[in-house]
């Protein structure tokens, strides 16, 4: 099974975010990490490779710092990496990101493409599905399980409120992977060493630009959300806070 995993580098979960001067994006002087759903997608690809043999290729589109995500993936067991390297990739909408990916992989023949179900920075949940449409592939989203079948694959789709659904699909196919599908592995020291020798192909913006167009949507303004709630902060030593909370529970919430 030849599997491509699309990965994204996003600001760390607890990174303090500051707006840039034009309030259209964040200041980039934060710490970054792999988008968590993508880590689950990678883990799933590695497990499928372990079960059915094959190759796992990882791809990302972003500045030089995004290479870290690929290095970690190679250290965990991916076979090779593709880095669409340019600062400009940060500001692309899902349509353009997907177009860039499609252009970068046009000479490859993957059986499966995984993406995380959404990114923790934008949270659109679109890039994978757009990519499937551009490639003309069937797709399924929010996947919790993948089994190989004679006709292709059987996937378990997560629905709302604790419901699930199995879907049979032909290959090649694209899947967006849900967090919690598996347990993430750690890279071993040997893995980290071996990663240094694994192929990492760089692709410039110029090479994929003809496949892209202008962004079809624009962030006019990014801002700290206006609070609609009148939050009362309770302060003081813990024993005092506990008493204050109980006073609220009794007199305001009326559950005591």
């Amino acid at each position: 099974m030849k599997i491509l995993v699309c990965m994204k580098q996003v600001p760390q979960k607890d990174a303090p975010l500051k707006l840039n001067e034009s309030s259209t994006w964040i200041r980039e002087d934060v710490s970054y990490e792999v988008n968590e759903p993508d880590a689950f997608a990678l883990e799933e690809a590695l497990r499928q490779k372990e079960k059915h043999s094959g190759e796992v290729v990882v791809i990302t589109a972003g500045p030089a710092r995004a290479q870290q995500v690929l290095r970690e993936a190679l250290a965990k067991g991916a076979d090779r990496a593709i880095h669409l390297e340019d600062n400009a990739f940060v500001g692309l909408d899902a349509s353009n990101t997907a177009r860039a990916f499609a252009a970068a992989i046009q000479d490859e023949k993957f059986d499966l493409i995984f993406t995380g179900l959404q990114s923790d920075d934008y949270g659109y949940a679109q890039t994978g599905v757009v990519l499937a449409e551009l490639l003309g592939w069937p797709h399924a989203t929010i996947i919790m399980q993948i089994e190989k079948t004679d006709g292709g694959i059987r996937v378990k789709r997560e629905l709302e409120a604790g419901y699930f659904q199995f879907v049979d699909m032909p290959l090649p196919a694209l899947l967006t992977i849900q967090s919690g599908i598996n347990k993430l592995r750690y890279a071993t020291l040997i893995g980290i060493k071996q990663a240094k020798n694994k192929p990492l192909r760089k692709v410039t913006l110029a090479e994929v630009q003809s496949a892209m167009g202008a962004n079809m949507q624009k962030i006019e303004r990014l801002y700290i959300p206006q609070k609609t709630k009148n939050t009362e902060f309770l302060e003081g030593p813990s024993a005092e806070v506990a008493k204050k909370l109980v006073e609220k529970l009794r007199n305001e919430v009326r559950v005591l």
Binding site: T141, L159, V167, A242
Partner: protein
């Protein structure tokens, strides 16, 4: 077609989702704001009755988009049918609720029509004659006003609870309903879905709980959940958790609150060590009173909390349990 807004409602097994009414409320608000006419559509097999249900609301017209191949749902069938219909009607705005099903086909539909979708919006505003759609970013830490930079039709999906289902306006008279039979060619539908099923044996129905004590990653280890359990017991409430806790197997899946789990609106929701990621918030923002304890003062949960404690839950919860017990005992 005159400038129109098209709301596509969602149904499963012959019943309209509650969020369909939320999307209609959004459509009515936008129609009032823009002066565009409001129409609605429901896609499926044998959905004319549902179309008539929608037609009871204040809407100019409702379409029942019919094809046997729309049942069961597949993204191929839905994208094919909606592309045909929207292509022929050319509404300016296409609105949908941001459900798992909509997420599964809208990016495909928009791409097939060389358009884009602004998804998971929590509202909209007008800036001059520009329509801006507001959405949360960075897991709720920041908000963005987003505009379209392409031709219509524009696709927008709204977050659960962004608009209120009970605020949808009824129509003065039933709107006309038109059944549109659409054709889906052989070979277009590639996925073969099986029956939808529920996995967790539902040992507890959190939607019925008046008081919920919920834990997130801040609980750090499985053994610490005992502390939250004691607080829940002292309060006479139920224990719940955000997704990562259930993924780790620290609590069963039927205790999960959020887009993949239960949506609750209890009298009291006490969030312990929960940051407030969007996927969790959508499952509990309807609670009457929200109390949050988290050591991160920037945690998005504090934006929706009525009472907030920035502090270490391991310092606060033990004395809280004692005080609650005292109060219960009549102290």
């Amino acid at each position: 077609m005159a400038d129109a807004i098209l709301v596509i409602v969602e149904q499963r097994e012959g019943k309209l989702n509650r969020v369909s009414w939320e999307a209609l409320t959004a459509g009515q608000a936008l129609a009032a704001e823009t002066g565009w006419i409001l129409e609605a559509a429901v896609a499926g097999s044998g959905v004319t009755t549902l179309a008539h249900e929608v037609a009871g609301k204040k809407v100019a017209k409702v379409y029942a988009l019919e094809s046997a191949k729309l049942e069961p749902y597949t993204p191929d069938a839905f994208a094919a049918v909606l592309k045909q219909f929207i292509g022929s009607k050319q509404p300016r705005l296409v609105l949908m609720p941001h459900t798992y099903q909509v997420r599964d086909f809208v990016p495909k539909l928009a791409t097939a029509m060389e358009r884009t979708a602004i998804s998971d919006c929590i509202g909209y505003k007008k800036d001059g004659d520009k329509l801006l759609f507001t959405r949360q970013m960075f897991q709720g830490k920041l908000a963005a006003d987003v505009s379209f930079a392409c031709d219509v039709p524009w696709f927008v999906t709204f977050q659960n609870g962004a608009f209120r289902a009970d605020k949808v306006e009824a129509g003065a008279a039933a709107a006309p309903v038109e059944t549109v039979n659409l054709k889906i060619d052989e070979g277009v539908v590639r996925n073969k879905p099986q029956e939808v099923f529920k996995e967790a044996k539902q040992a507890v129905d959190l939607t019925q709980a008046e008081i919920i004590v919920s834990v997130g990653r801040g609980i750090k280890e499985q053994k610490n959940i005992e502390l939250a359990k004691q607080l829940a017991e002292a309060l006479g409430g139920e224990l719940a958790a955000s997704r990562p806790i259930c993924d780790s197997g620290w609590l069963p899946m039927d205790r999960q609150i959020g887009s993949s789990g239960q949506t609750v609106a209890p009298k009291l929701y006490l969030a312990l060590g929960i940051s407030g990621a969007i996927q969790h918030i959508v499952g509990m923002k309807g609670a009457r009173t929200i109390i949050a304890i988290n050591k991160d003062s920037e945690a998005p949960i504090f934006e929706i909390a009525d009472y907030a404690v920035v502090g270490n839950l391991f310092d606060i919860v033990p004395p809280l349990i004692e005080e609650v017990k005292k109060a219960r005992a009549g102290g």
